[in-house]
């Protein structure tokens, strides 16, 4: 297999108002059962609305990983993640992708959170599954804060070769002296599977938390469709 790296991204008309391109540094770790292993430090790109943007593409033999992360201003921390994984080989592939960022302004120790993830899958006989840990999780320092698509989980593209599903969740967490926040994906991809995840995690702004969470907390904690 040959891999060719050309420009990883076209940046169109950005940065004109950015005061710093390295306001927020993130670390992206990718590991695959085909021997893929990389840890990359990404400098955040400041968007005009104050968000920080990271993107990175990685190819190792049959594994292709495309990642994009957008974090909103820290005081109302919100991290959107768009992940696309492709296994173009003939064997199943285990993939772990984690994005970590340091929190420069700490949320309150007691915080409400919201999360959602969509999952699109494609390919002949395509299947994504996880047995040993949640497919998607958020870890603050060493504490598991949130998880979606809890294990065991499996989802297939069916006969048509294309399908989608999603999971949402919310809850409360108490952690003092936050340091780092990590979003983590752990999936097994069958041969020929391409999968895309799109969603986010947020600490609910204090003023809005009651209004936002009250109806949700009155219902069940997590919905999967």
């Amino acid at each position: 297999m040959k891999t060719q790296h050309i420009a990883s991204a076209l940046i169109l008309g950005l940065c004109t108002t950015a005061t710093s391109l390295a306001d927020l540094v993130g670390v992206l770790d990718i590991a695959g059962s085909n021997g893929a292993s990389t840890s990359t430090t990404l400098n955040g790109l400041a968007l005009p609305d104050g968000s920080t943007y990271w993107t990175h593409q990685y190819i190792h033999e049959e594994l292709t990983v495309s990642t994009t992360m957008v974090a909103s201003p820290i005081e109302d921390l919100q991290l959107a993640t768009i992940m696309q994984f492709s296994n173009s080989g003939t064997e199943d592939l285990q993939v772990e992708v984690a994005f970590s960022m340091t929190l420069s302004t700490l949320p309150p120790p007691l915080s409400e959170w919201l999360a959602s993830q969509s999952l699109n899958i494609g390919g002949e006989d395509a299947m994504v599954e996880t047995d040993t840990e949640p497919l998607w999780s958020v870890v603050v320092d060493d504490t598991l804060v949130a998880s979606l698509f809890d294990n065991p989980f499996s989802f297939s593209a069916g006969q048509s070769g294309s399908a989608s599903t999603y999971d949402t969740g919310n809850g409360t967490v108490f952690i003092d002296n936050w340091q780092t926040l990590q979003v983590r994906y752990a999936v097994d991809l069958s041969a020929g599977t391409t999968v895309g995840f799109n969603g986010g995690f947020a600490f609910v702004p204090t003023a809005a938390s009651l209004w936002t969470l009250a109806p949700m907390l009155a219902t069940r904690r997590r919905r999967r469709h």
């Binding site: 076209l10 190819i59 957008v70 959602s116 899958i121 494609g122 294309s162 809005a208």
Partner: protein, 234 residues
Amino acid sequence: MVFLAMCWLAPTAIAGGPIPAEFYWQASSAPDDPVAAELSMLGEWTNIDEASTVYTGSLLSTAWHLTWTTTVTNGQEQMIDTILSVTNLGATTQSFVTGTSLQSALAPGDSLLSLACSLAVTNLQFDGAATLETVGEDPLVQAKIDSTVATSNFDAVYALTANGPFGVATDSAASMTTVQAIDPAGLSVWARFMLTPGDTTTLHLLAAYSTIPAPPASLMVALLWCLAPSRRRS
């Protein structure tokens, strides 16, 4: 005859290069500034084998963000398999057009074209809703042979809405049609849609073109033998 058949089946990748595929992208925030380029020039790629290439990359503007992972196959069948994630970073609803084209001679004659799609839209805000919908009378997704629409999914008027904070909605559809194209020169898959501000969507589009196999030669010989007048010894 054999040489012609081999021409149809031969992959068009130049030795070591990717299977050529073109990408088109246009946003209503900059209608006069579309992106139209070889996928190999927009991101990274790797060849799976002699007949398939995987492309991945992202584009960013002040008004939108786009990420793709696309596999194109040009072998016994032609296939475009792409996942596109789009975020509307603007303050108003925008319309987007995206197209991925495999410019390669397709096998003529009776063929099957299948189109499968799945959609997801996410509201990444603490209020309101996120909506993905068709533009005008156009279907949301089309597969074309050359410039002719062969099949489509999510015909107008179609809307997919995710309600509430961090709400998500998903949908999927599939179609298949027979095609009798004369000298078909390319397969492409297109999506045209509107997306509300601050929201994000992922589309998976899978278009596959394959010939309907002709009866094997041995079957034809057997058929001719059966139909031939039988000899009688007088």
